[in-house]
Each structure stands twice: as structure tokens, then as C-alpha cells.
Symmetry: C2
Subunit: 282 residues, 2 copies
């Protein structure tokens, strides 16, 4: 059995950075407790590993005190929440992904420059809720061009995208807004990590007999990878760890492809590859 | 016979302004000769009337001298041409349409700010050739989104539109460029005079028996009006003056609609209305 790995798979830059920051904070831990505001990433195994090392997950600021070192997770936080956290916690470590941070700065810039702001994204997503804070809750959030309602006359419109948005969506919203204003300024804040993983996975899926997608069942980007691969290769399986592998899946197959979501750690990928090699004597 | 006039018809703001400027220059004329660089507008009758008042048309700067008062026509001129004219002529009067002027300033702004510039328009149109001058000939001119070629990597792209462009065209180009760059800045420099005339003409054409479109046969916007009206009303006639009217066109008709291009003077519209009223005793 041949095992092939997708060219782009696993941790994106922002996720890897937030994990590094968390481990560093845990290593420097003294008498304080180290917490993250919400789970650091959408991978239960990695969150569990961090918990074993001492990283607590708190959902509300009310749960922390002046002895807490608080880590802000990669998709960022509302500026008011950050301010409140800084007042309560002993120390706040901001692990917001630099690409998300850039989108936050650009949102604030558009707000300061008096643009009417549109955020292309999911209204309830934590990243988008945080971006809204940088526009003093004045931005309009649209999931697609069809959600654009009648525009109040404004001479300048600015567009920001949730970093994991599909570029086609941003393009359609840009098209719809380009002629209803005197000036349209589009900041393409889409990070291409998601798209690159999808492209690599689809390329690989079309050349293998069985496809394995690794990552949290609660991870939106991993689940999307699995759905896309299944459209190409019916024998696609979405699992969180090597323990879920079943020998029967590989009967008659010669090549297995592996991919992983942006929040899936390397050791889960490595364990899976090793398990397959052990089973099939490669 | 009832005669109805389109709600929006005839001179646009920029054309009317250039005519006013020309008449004022002719009134103030002393020993100098007053010229326009190219015909002031695309209406032979108005150009002839201005000629009778003393306005010469020159096609090249070589034809003027230090005794010339030179009028720059409404669609503007290349900045180098303007500079050369100012060196040769006694006086240069700039009758560039303020909306075109704004597009020129914005093109220069985008160039100074290091944007890769796209002009949505006709490459050989004098307005576009002049705009190119404000981008030091570095702008890419595209008539539609399909003309966009592979993009050199540039973090900022700016879009300017020829003032008479169709908004749909600008929207498609904005869509195509919005996701190939980190920042897209679209200045919607389209003047809505052309579109308003088209909308009014089509609205009227659907309610009348005969449609008359007035304006220069060499006027692109008037010819376009005639084509659009003919699609709605087969009995559409494009004429330059009332003398071209034929009684036979109106046989059996009860309502006649009249529209006129952006370069058609009011007196041509008035003469036509009067002629019809005289013929049909209204």
C-alpha cells in the first residue's frame, strides 16, 4: 500500500503560531493559572494535550482573576473584550493570527476614514464579531451579494473579508457594490491557507483509491475538506485520530491519500501514516 | 397629434458648460483668433453655429500661434498637450467637463500612490487617451473584463472608468480584479447623464406611436439612443434637424415621442417640436 500526503495539509500559520504561544506561556508558568478565552483551536486532541500541560479553557471573562495569564485565541477578540481582559488578568497574551489582526486594523482604518463598511462573512463567527468591534458595530455583515440591501447614500464604501471566505463570494459582493458609490475600497483579507488545502486535497483525491481526512469533527474547514473529497472519491473517511482507522476500508486498494484541516496537528498526521505503514508493511 | 418630450434629453452639464465657455470667449474676443482643439462637441449644427460666431476648429497644435485663444473641449486633453498649448497659445481656456477632470485627478492620485491602474473604456477614445497621460501611459485600458490579462503581482490595483461607460462593465471588471490583489480601489467616475437619457428614452418609446431621436449622426451617445429606441419602437427615426422630418412617418399615429443626445442643443429640440405642432395644428 502506497501512502501519499497532500502537498498542503495541517496547521496553517496562524494556528501553529497560537499553539507555540500557548506552550511558551505554559513553560513560563509560575504561580499563575494560564487560560485561553474559548478553545484555542477546533481540534479536541490538541486542546486536550494543552489541558494536560495546564491550559484551562474559560468561556467568559468572569471566570478569570488577577492571577490569570489569558491567551487570546487565533481568530481574535472584540476590542472591548480585550480592554476588559487587560483590566482583570495579570497578563494578556494576544495569539490573534497576524492575518486576522491585519483585517482588524484595516476595518478600523476604514471606520476612521468614514467608509461605509461591509464585512463579507458569517455574522455569528467569532472572527466577524471581533471585526465588528473595530467598526464600532457599524459594519454591515453579508454572507453573499444577495444579502446586500438598499444602500444609504454614502460616497465611500469599504469591504473587508473574513479570512476564511471564498474569493468568489468577495468578488460578487465587490461587483454589486462597485457602481452604487463614488469610491469602493476592497481589502482582500482572505488568507489562502483554506483554499490551498482544498486544492491540494482535491488534486490528491483524484489519484488515490482511498482518501483519509484528518481533523476535529467540530472543525468547519476540516469537515468542508471531507465533503469536497467525497464528491471526488466516494471512499473518503473523516477521522480525528489513527485509532478510528479500519482495515476493511483498504481492501483491494493500492494507494491511500491523506489530508488534514488547518487545525490538525502534525503528530496526528504522523501517527496515521505510521499506523498504515505498520499495517501494510511499507 | 400629441408631442411628448423625454424627461431627460439634450445637453448634459459638461457639454452645456463647454458651449457657454466658448460663447464667452467669443464675446470677449479682441484681435486674437479663438480656436477649439478638435470640434467642441459632436453636433455639426452647433459646431457650425459656433463657427459663424468665429470659433475655428484646429486638429493640431501646429496650427495655432501666440495670437490664439485655445479652448480645450469637454472630454479633456493629454497633460503634455495642455503644457505645449500653454507655451504656444496666447491663452488656453480649459472647458474639460468637471466630471472628466475629476477622473483625471483620480488617475493621477492612483499613479502617485503607486496603484496599478486599470481604465475601463475605449482605448482610442480621446477622453481615455488623455486619462492615460495622467498615469504616465502606465495604465491598462480594458473595454471589458474579458480583456484582463495575467496580472503582474502588485499589492494595490486602482480602477477608473471612462465617464460614459456602462456601469455593468465597471462592475464586471471590479469583480475580476477584486481577488487578485491585496487592495482594490474603484473610483466610479461614470457620469449618469448617458444612462439617464437612455432610461428616459426607453420609458417614453414604449408609450408612443412614433419616436424621434435628435442629434449628430457622428454622436456615439445619440446613435446608441436611436438603436435602443428602435428595439422598442420600430418607427424610430434618427435625425439631426427638423428639416429631415417627413409627414408620412406620422400617418395614423397619435402620439410622437422626442429625445435627444447629450450633445444636441435645445434649439434643435424646440424647432422640431414647433414644426410638428405647426403640421398637426396642436
Amino acid at each position: 500500500m502506497k501512502v501519499l500526503l497532500a502537498e498542503k495539509a495541517g496547521f496553517c500559520y496562524g494556528v501553529r503560531r497560537s499553539i507555540d504561544i500557548a506552550f511558551k506561556a505554559l513553560n513560563n508558568k509560575d504561580s499563575s493559572n494560564v487560560c485561553s478565552l474559548g478553545p484555542l483551536i477546533h481540534n479536541p486532541q490538541m486542546v486536550e494535550k494543552l489541558k494536560e500541560q495546564g491550559l484551562e479553557v474559560v468561556e467568559e471573562l468572569e471566570k478569570i482573576d488577577h492571577n490569570t495569564v489569558l491567551i487570546i485565541r487565533s481568530h481574535g477578540v472584540h476590542p472591548e473584550t480585550l480592554k476588559r481582559a487587560q483590566k482583570i488578568a495579570r497578563k494578556v497574551i494576544d495569539a490573534t493570527c497576524p492575518f486576522v489582526k491585519k483585517a482588524q486594523h484595516l476595518t478600523q482604518f476604514l471606520y476612521d476614514e468614514d467608509y461605509l463598511i461591509y464585512i463579507v462573512g458569517e455574522a455569528e463567527h467569532p472572527e466577524v464579531l471581533a471585526l465588528q468591534g473595530f467598526a464600532c458595530e457599524q459594519a454591515k455583515v453579508v454572507a453573499s451579494a444577495s444579502e446586500i440591501k438598499a444602500i444609504n447614500k454614502k460616497s465611500k464604501i469599504g469591504i473587508i473579508a473574513q479570512t476564511t471566505q471564498n474569493p468568489k463570494n468577495l468578488a460578487e459582493v465587490s461587483k454589486a457594490l462597485s457602481t452604487v458609490t463614488k469610491e469602493l475600497r476592497v481589502f482582500n483579507t482572505i488568507c489562502n491557507a483554506t483554499l490551498l488545502r482544498q486544492k491540494s486535497a482535491l488534486k490528491l483525491a483524484s489519484t488515490v483509491d482511498i482518501m483519509i481526512v484528518l481533523g476535529g469533527k467540530n472543525s468547519a474547514n476540516t469537515s468542508r475538506l471531507a465533503v469536497l473529497c467525497k464528491q471526488i472519491k466516494e471512499t473518503t473517511h473523516h477521522i480525528e485520530t489513527a485509532d478510528e482507522l479500519k482495515k476493511s476500508w483498504f481492501k483491494g486498494g493500492e494507494i491511500v491519500g491523506i489530508t488534514a484541516g488547518a487545525s490538525t496537528p502534525d503528530w496526528i498526521i504522523e501517527e496515521t501514516v505510521l499506523r498504515l505503514k505498520k499495517w501494510f508493511n511499507n
